[in-house]
Amino acid sequence: MSERTAIEISGLNKWFDDFHVLKDISLTILEKEIIVVCGPSGSGKSTLIRCINHLEKHQEGSISIFGEKLENDKKSADIIRTNVGMLFQNFNLFPHLTVLENCTLGPIWLSKIPEVKAIEQSIVLLDRVGIADLAAKYPGQISGGQKQRVAIARALAMEPKIMLFDEPTSALDPEMIKEVLDVMIDLAESGMTMICVTHEMQFAQQVADRVIFMAEGEIVEIGPPEQVLKNPKWDRTSQFLEHILSH
C-alpha cells in the first residue's frame, strides 16, 4: 500500500428530497487499498459509491479523487472517466453490441486508440477474466457470471486506477459467484484500488484492507476485517453479521 490518497471524502451529506441518506460521511482511501462496504439494506451503501462515481450528486461536503475535487463540470467527468470504473449488480452490458464491442467502445471513442490496437488490448483483458472465447457473442447469449466478467473487462479497458463494485455477485447463482470473485481477487492482488459493496465475507477476509459497516446512512464501524468481522464494537454489526452468515 502506498501513501498516496486515492479518494478523500469529507463531511458528505446527501438527501433524497427530505430523506437524509448519507449523514456526514468522512473517509480517506489510500491508493491500492481494498475496502469492503457492508450493512443492512437501505443503509446507503449504493448511494455512497454512486456519489463517488458521480452518478448521484451530493448536497454537502466534498469528494476528491487523487486530489481533484468533484464538481458538476466537464473536468470532473474527465477525472472520473480516466480514474474510476464501476460495476453494477445487474451488469448493465450493452445488449446490442458484442462482448468485444462492449469492451472496445470506450477505448476507441474516448481514449482515441486505433481500432486494431483496442481490439488487441480488449482480447487480452477478456483473456484475463477467462472469457476470450466469447468475444464474438452478444450479452444475451452468455451466463450471468460471464456477463459480470465482461463488465469487469469493459471497465478495465478504460484503465481505471479505482474500481467500484456494487454488489457484483448478488444477482448470480452460487456456482457463478466464485468465478467472479476469483477475478476480483486477482484484481485486488494486482494493485487496484477497490471499493466493494458486498456481503461475501470470505472475500472480505481474504483481500480487504479495511471493512466498513454502514447503517442508516452512517459509517458505524471501520477497521481491518479481523476487527470488524470478529470483534465488532457495535451490537448492530454483530447482529447483522450473524444474520448474513447464517443464511
Binding site: I80, M86, P95, L105, L110, A155, M158, S246, H247
Partner: protein, 446 residues
C-alpha cells in the same frame, strides 16, 4: 455464505409417464389442407361456408374487373358499347405513363429511370455481407444522392454547385462498386493502393488520405468527362405522378427520422429552451391536420423570405411534410427512449461516454431497434399521406389519376384509375412492411 441448516423437503419419487406417440407428419398441400381446414365436421362446414361467402363477394368484382372488362378501346364510348358492365382499362393504360411520370417530357424520362436506378444501386451494397461501414454508405446516400437526383431530374445548365456535388456522389458510387468487386476478389481496395505513396509524405492518416485522394481523382475525371453534358431544363411544375410521390415521400421519410430524433432528444433535454421549443413544435404540429400544415407552408412560408426570392412549391411542400412527419416520428422515438432501462445510461456514464456518444452508440441503436415496427408504420402512413399534396396543386399520382376522368376521351372514368393506383400503393406499402418484418427478425437473432 452459510451452512445449509434448513432441512430439505422429502423428494417425491419420480414416476415417468408413458411417452406420447410421435406426431404424424402432415406433408404436402393436400395434407396441410386436411389438417387445417377439414380436420372435423364442424371445421369442414365452416370452411365450406366461408369459401362460399368469399366467392359470392368476390365474383362480381372479378366479373367486372377481368371477365367483362374491356382492354382495348380508344375512348370511353367504345368501352361502354363493348361491355356496359365491365371495367374500362384502356384509359388507365393510355395514361399509365402519366401516372408514373406526370407531365415529364417523354423523351427525357430516361433521366428519371436512371436517377432511381442509381438510387437503388446505392442502397444495394447495404445487403452485402462483406461490405463494411454500411453507416457511411447510408449517410452518403442521404447527403449526396439528393444532389445527384436533383441534377438529373431538373437539368438546366446554370447550376455549377449541383453539378459538382453530383459528380462527387457519382464518384463515390463508382468507387464503392469497384471496391466491392475488389473485396470479393480479396484484393486491396482502391484507396489502399495510394496509401504507400501518401505514406512517404505524411505518415499519420495515410489510409484516410489515400481514400480521399482516390475519391477526388475520380470526381475530377468525371467532372471533365461530363463537362459538355447539358440536360434540358424540366421545371418542377411538370414533375408528377408516382415519380413525384416517391420524391416527396422518400425525402420526407429520410428526413423524418433525424428530425424526429432531434425533437425527441430535445423534449427530454434538461435545457429548458430546447425542451420547450421541442414540446411546442411537436404538440403544435401534431394537433393540426396535414392539409393545414401544407396550406400554411404554401401561404405562410413566403412571408419569412424576402420578396425577391421565388420559392418553388415543391420545396415548400417538402418542408411542410418533413416537419409534420418529424413531429410524429419524435413521439415514436420518445416511446423507444422510454423503454431503455436507466442502467444503460449509468453504464455508459461509468464507461465515460458523454451525452452524444451515449445517445449515438448506446441509447438510440437500442431504442430505434425496438421501434422498427412503429417507425415503418409511420413511414407507410406518411407514404400514403403524401397524396394530399394533390390538393395544393402538385400533380402527384393522385391528381394524375383524377385527371384521367376529365380527359375528354375518358370523361367520367373514376374507378379504374383509383384501383390502378391502389395496386401501386399496395405494392410499395406491402414491400415496406415485409422488409421491416425481415429486419426485425434479423436483429432479433442478435
Amino acid at each position: 455464505m452459510g451452512n445449509q441448516s434448513i432441512s430439505k423437503p422429502e423428494l417425491l419419487e419420480f414416476i415417468p409417464k408413458p411417452s406420447r406417440l410421435p406426431a404424424v407428419p402432415v406433408d404436402g398441400f393436400i395434407g396441410r389442407l386436411k389438417k387445417h381446414l377439414f380436420s372435423n365436421i364442424w371445421n369442414t362446414l365452416l370452411t365450406v361456408s366461408v369459401f362460399t361467402l368469399l366467392f359470392m363477394l368476390i365474383k362480381p368484382f372479378l366479373d367486372w374487373a377481368i371477365f367483362d372488362a374491356v382492354w382495348s378501346a380508344s375512348n370511353r364510348r367504345e368501352c361502354l358499347n363493348a361491355s356496359p358492365d365491365g371495367a374500362c382499362w384502356p384509359g388507365v393504360i393510355q395514361w399509365f405513363n402519366g401516372l408514373i411520370y406526370g407531365r415529364y417530357p417523354n423523351d427525357q424520362q430516361w433521366r428519371i429511370n436512371l436517377g432511381f436506378g442509381l438510387g437503388i444501386l446505392w442502397l444495394v451494397p447495404l445487403a452485402f455481407k462483406r461490405v463494411e461501414q454500411k453507416i457511411l454508405i447510408a449517410l452518403s446516400a442521404i447527403t449526396l444522392f439528393p444532389f445527384l437526383a436533383n441534377f438529373l431530374f431538373l437539368g438546366g445548365s446554370d447550376n455549377q454547385f449541383n453539378y459538382i456535388v453530383a459528380c462527387v456522389g457519382l464518384a463515390y458510387l463508382l468507387i464503392l462498386y469497384i471496391n466491392i468487386g475488389l473485396i470479393y476478389l480479396d484484393r486491396k481496395i482502391l484507396g489502399e493502393y495510394l496509401e504507400p505513396l501518401i505514406g512517404r509524405f505524411y505518415q499519420r492518416r495515410a489510409a484516410l488520405l489515400g481514400r480521399l485522394l482516390c475519391w477526388l481523382t475520380v470526381t475530377v475525371l468525371l467532372a471533365f468527362l461530363f463537362q459538355n453534358l447539358t440536360l434540358l431544363l424540366v421545371e418542377v411544375d411538370s414533375w408528377g405522378g408516382l415519380f413525384l410521390t416517391l420524391i416527396i415521400s422518400g425525402f420526407s421519410i429520410v428526413m423524418a427520422l433525424p428530425i424526429g430524433i432531434l425533437l425527441a432528444l430535445g423534449r427530454r433535454s434538461h435545457m429548458p429552451v430546447f425542451r420547450w421549443l421541442s414540446i411546442c413544435t411537436i404538440e403544435l404540429v401534431r394537433s393540426v391536420p396535414l392539409i393545414t400544415v401544407l396550406f400554411m407552408s404554401v401561404t405562410m412560408l413566403p412571408l419569412f423570405f424576402p420578396n425577391t426570392m421565388e420559392l418553388n412549391k415543391l420545396v415548400q411542400v417538402l418542408v411542410a411534410v418533413c416537419v409534420f412527419a418529424g413531429a410524429y416520428m419524435a413521439e415514436t422515438v420518445r416511446g423507444g427512449l422510454q423503454g431503455i432501462p436507466p442502467g444503460q445510461f449509468e453504464a455508459a456514464k461509468s464507461v465515460g461516454l458523454g451525452y452524444w456518444y451515449t445517445m449515438a452508440f448506446i441509447i438510440l441503436p437500442q431504442a430505434l431497434r425496438a421501434m422498427i415496427p412503429n417507425i415503418v408504420t409511420s413511414f407507410i402512413s406518411l407514404f400514403k399521406d403524401t397524396t394530399l399534396v394533390s390538393i395544393i396543386g402538385l400533380f402527384d399520382i393522385m391528381l394524375m389519376a383524377r385527371n384521367i376522368s376529365i380527359d375528354k376521351n375518358w370523361l367520367g372514368l373514376h374507378t379504374e384509375p383509383l384501383i390502378a393506383i391502389s395496386i401501386l400503393f399496395f405494392i410499395f406499402c406491402y414491400s415496406m412492411s415485409q422488409y421491416s418484418h425481415r429486419l426485425e427478425k434479423k436483429l432479433k437473432n442478435k
